[in-house]
Each structure stands twice: as C-alpha cells, then as structure tokens.
Amino acid sequence: MSVSLSREDLLEAYRRMKTIREFEERVHVEFAKGGIPGFVHLYAGEEASAAGVCMNLNDDDKIASTHRGHGHCIAKGVEVKGMMAEIYGKRTGTCHGKGGSMHIADLDTGMLGANGIVGGGPPLVCGAALAAKFKGNGGVAVAFFGDGASNQGTTFESMNLAAAWKLPAIFVAENNGYAEATGAKFSVACGDVSNRAVGFGMPGVTVDGHDFFAVYAAMQTAVQRARNGDGPSLVEVKLDRFYGHFEGDNQSYRAPDEVKNIRATKDCIDRFKARVTSEHNIAPNELSAIDLEIAKLIDEAVAAAIAAPEPAPEDLLTDVYIKY
C-alpha cells in the first residue's frame, strides 16, 4: 500500500504514537500508586488508529472522542502537560481540573472533547461538519467511537443524517473487541461494524488497526471524499487495547494470555518501527532519540501535575454560563 508520507511525516507519526504509549503506560503506573482520582480508560495498544486518522487532518478539522480519549487528544495536538494535569484534577489542566480524563477538550486544536456518554460524539460531529460546510473552509469532522457505541441509536442517526445532508464527516469505529466486558462478537450483530455503512448509503471499510499505514490509507480516501463534497464514510479500525475497560479492571473476561500475546505479536508501534527502518530509510537511532524526548516530556508532565495547585474553591462556581 503506497501512501504519501514524507520522512518528516513518518517521524511525526512515530512521535505521536509513542507519546500516547508512554503517556498511557505512565498513567497506568501512577493510577496504581493512587495519585490519580476517578475513572481512567487507557488507549495503549490502539495508537495506530489515532495517529493514522489524525495525520490526515489539519487544524481546521475537528474530532470528537470517547471515554478512551487520551490518544485522540495527543494525536490531534492537545498539549501533553495540560492533559496530565487535567487527569490529576489540577488547576493547570487543559480544563482547569473541571473535566478530568473523560472530558478533556481543546477546541483550539479541533478536539471537541472526550465524552463520558457512549455514542455522545457522533451527533456533535454532524454539527461540526455542518459548520465546516457553511464556512466553506474544506474542513472535515471525525467521530471516533467504539464497538460499543456502534450499537447506539445516536450513531445510527448520525450516520444517516450525515449522509442525508452529505456532510464532510468520517465515522471511525475503533473496534477493540470489547464494550466494557462484553464481546463485540456477541453485541455487534452484523459482524464487522463496517457492514452497516451500506445501510446508511456511505462507503465502509474495515482495516487492521495494528497497521498505521492501513489506517492512514483508508482515512486518506475518506478524508478526500469528504473534502471533495462527496459525503461521509465509515472506517472500522480493528485493534486491541492493552489494558482493561478502566484502570482497576481485572479483565477476567479475557483469555489468560490474550494481552501478553497481543503485546508480543500485534504491537502497532513495533510493527511501525520495523517497517520504517526497513523500508523508509529511517535509522533506529532517530527513533530512540525521539523516545528520549518523550520520556523526558512525560516525566516533566507528571512532576508538574503533581506539583500543580488544586482548583480554587471559587472555581466551583465559574464557567457554568457565559453570562447569567
């Protein structure tokens, strides 16, 4: 599969995937230590999807995310230190500590929000795509959702509306095989989520989410179609999560060596490294130099988050309304 990525693009894709991985692995460790409040859903293992999608997007493009949103944020350009502070509930966080892991949003980078409601994002993406259409800026909007949300009425309604209005929207179904603890093999009655595309009058494709290049190429086609004014597409990305539904999930619904085998044989970052070093003239030490920068960034982010102040008591009452 040939895709039009420069060396710089490939290094940037690697940086985004590796940043997500390190961010999530570190949140896993810090959560276990008890420093992080609330619910946290980790994206580790799924990095090729966020990066493969967002490497096709620019600053005018919008994404709506899910409860498993850290990876989408990083891939769309949300600042990592602000995210970490937000996850710690600190005043310096992206949302000043009032959103948390499940509600990180950064409208300046086109990130319309992680979402605590399964299926909450697709309707909003129809609106973002509609706004782009009215503005005529060539922008597209991407709804990330999981196999769980693929069964929500909001998702069905949104795909139909996007097709009826011919919106520049792309529906990215990240099928990691589990809606919480329930298998997609049971809950998604049509087999592949992409089979549903025909019912909504749009192209649908299923790609291997362990392969950055496959995701990138499928999205390139879908984004081009949207920018050309030809309407929405459904891209199903089949992938695996390295952790449970939430941190603290003992994952007894998974096979005993399932995650171990996935990490050993299907790690999207390992596959990316192997390919770019053998086929794209990228030296291993270029990647390890990026690794060092990321390790430092995550260390600094955690240290800064821990040291940052809590929100002030008066913050409780602010930003409910613009004017009231």
Binding site: C95, H96, G127
Partner: protein, 336 residues
C-alpha cells in the same frame, strides 16, 4: 406601537430578522421547511404549525429539514454551535426530549464547565409546550422544570407576542444554550409588537398588573389566565399583582420577593406537573427567603400529578383555569 401580530408571527419575525442580521444563524428541524425530497412544493409546511413558513424562500439552505432523528439533529445543532454557528433547532414538541435529552443535558449544558470555560455553545432549541389541544399524554406536557433543573441551560417561556419576539432575539444572540418554550395555545394570540428588532433580557420578571392584596406568579398560557382571574377578583375589590418571570433559568427572585413584601400572599400558577415543578420551586424559594413577609400559606395552582388525558372533559379538568386561580386567591385571603 399600533401594529398587532400573532405570537406565531412574532416568532417568525424574530427568526427572520436574526437570519438577515447574522449569517451564522441557521435553522434545522423536522419539517421546518417541509417538502425536502418530496414531490410537491418546497416550504410546504414551514414547521408543523407553520411558524417557520416563508423563511426558506428568503434564506434557502440555511433552513434545513431533518430526518426524524432528534438525537442527531439536536446534537448537530449543538456541535455546530461549538464550531462558530448560531443554530436555532426545533424540537417539535417538548415531549420528544426523551429521545435526545443526552445531547442537551450531558453535552450542550456541560461543555463550558467541563472544558474549563473554553467552549461556547450558542444554540437555541425551540420547542412546543402545553395542553389544550386534545393531543393527549405525549404531545401536551410542560416539561420546562426538567430543563430548569440542569445547570448550564437557560429556559425561556414567553407569554405574549411582544415577549416572544424580544426573548427569542435575545436567545439567538445569547452565547449559552437556551431552551425556548412556546405554548401552542398561544400561537394565535395577538398583541402589539414593534416592527424593529429588540431584545428582552433574561432573568427579569414582568409585572403585568400591580396589586396590593395577593401576588400571583404565572408562566406561559397561565399568565393570561391569571390576568383574567385578577379582572374578575377586582370586581369584588380584591387586588392582585400578576408577575410573569418569563425565564425560569435565570430566575428573577427579587421581583417576586418585593411583591410579597407588599402583599404578604402568594399564589403560583404552573401548567407543569406539581412535583418538582416551578410552583414547588418558587414556593421553596419564598419559604426560605420571604418567610417573614407571608401572612398566609402559599397556594399552588397546578394540574393533578397525572399524565395529560385525551378526553376533552378530562383535559379541561386537568388544566388550571381562571376559576381555580380565583379560588386560590380567595383561600389566601381567608388567613387574616
């Protein structure tokens, strides 16, 4: 200010003037044009009761029919609002909130707070409320207390053509999400409405009639009923002060408390169900903040705690009436 138009025309005029003024104002909803993808004429309906009729001819694709998919198009209006548009979306009947409430109360209402003050969601959701049309239990409710309960939403309930126009223009220009409730029995009500554009600020109650004996607070269609009751009571020498809060969020407590300071007596008329409704909410506020002014128990005139019945004989019993308001006022006055 001699020109009289209907409540429905006042809403149409507000939409028209705001669409002319601001290209980011767009309209979407079921049959708001009427005829998209059909074989006959476009703008066939202009909304199920014709409120948006004629706007398609002026503004074309800025007013859009939708599939019957409230979650998708209400959510789309909300999403477009976060991306720089000012959508006015029509939820045909407030009773249909059940199929799209998540987008309103978990998404639109919470964005600004959850996102640390960085989001702006200037969306208006217009919706019909109210009984009286023999439309039965799923097309007749006054569910505005449910929206009033949600921090982050503003809730507007006009009772006259003048208020409908000024409050709707304010709603469209407002940067927060607004639920705009239109009582369907008021659509044909005529009243004086200036031709030029104007706004009415939210959170400012309207004293429609001054009086010294009893304060009557009413919303939407009940405002007219309260004024009728006040007219009848005046013949017996009973003087009522009638207040329309006009918005339930934000809510003008001061105008009510100042009135009770003078009258010492309060009747609240609300077409919403009695439990956790506006009558109960206002009663609680006055009990807490105006207790020393009260000379009699607060009277609440509401429907019974039942769904809205279909049969005319039952629906007429269900809806508060001027006679019931009069009785409540007289009951207040039994306490010396």
């Amino acid at each position: 200010m001699a020109r009289k138009i209907s409540f429905q025309q006042a809403i149409n005029e507000a939409l028209d003037q705001e669409m002319a003024r601001d290209p980011s104002v767009i309209i979407m909803g079921e049959d708001v044009v009427g005829g998209t993808g059909a074989n006959g004429e476009m703008d066939a309906w202009g909304g199920v009761l014709g409120v948006t009729k004629g706007l398609y001819g002026k503004y074309g694709d800025r007013i859009m029919d939708t599939p019957i998919s409230e979650s998708a198009f209400v959510g789309a209006a909300i999403g477009a609002a976060t991306c720089g548009m000012r959508p006015v979306c029509e939820l045909m009947f407030i009773d249909f909130m059940g199929v799209c409430f998540d987008q309103i109360y978990n998404q639109a209402a919470k964005f600004r707070y959850m996102f640390g003050g960085k989001a702006k969601t200037p969306v208006v959701i217009r919706t019909m409320i109210g009984a009286g049309f023999r439309a039965a239990a799923q097309h007749s409710q006054c569910l505005y207390p449910l929206f009033t309960h949600i921090p982050g939403l503003k809730v507007v309930i006009p009772s006259s053509p003048y208020d409908a126009k000024g409050l709707l223009i304010q709603a469209i220009r407002d940067d927060d999400p607004v639920i705009f409730c239109e009582h369907k029995a008021l659509y044909t009500m005529e009243g004086e409405v200036p031709e030029e554009s104007y706004t009415i600020p939210f959170g400012e109650g309207n004293v429609l009639r001054e009086g010294k004996d009893v304060t009557v607070v009413a919303l939407a269609r009940m405002v007219g009923f309260a004024l009728k009751a006040a007219d009848a009571l005046a013949k017996d020498g009973i003087s009522c002060e009638v207040i329309d809060p006009r918005t339930t969020s934000p809510f003008d407590e001061d105008t009510i408390l100042e009135s009770i300071e003078n009258t010492g007596r309060l009747v609240i008329v609300d077409e919403a169900s009695p439990r956790c409704g506006m009558a109960a909410d206002i009663s609680a506020m006055v009990a807490q903040k105006g207790f020393e002014f009260l000379e009699a128990p607060i009277q609440m005139v509401t429907p019974p705690h039942t769904p809205v019945p279909f049969a005319g004989s039952l629906e007429d019993l269900y809806i508060p009436t001027p006679a019931k308001i009069q009785a409540a006022v007289r009951k207040c006055l039994e306490y010396a």
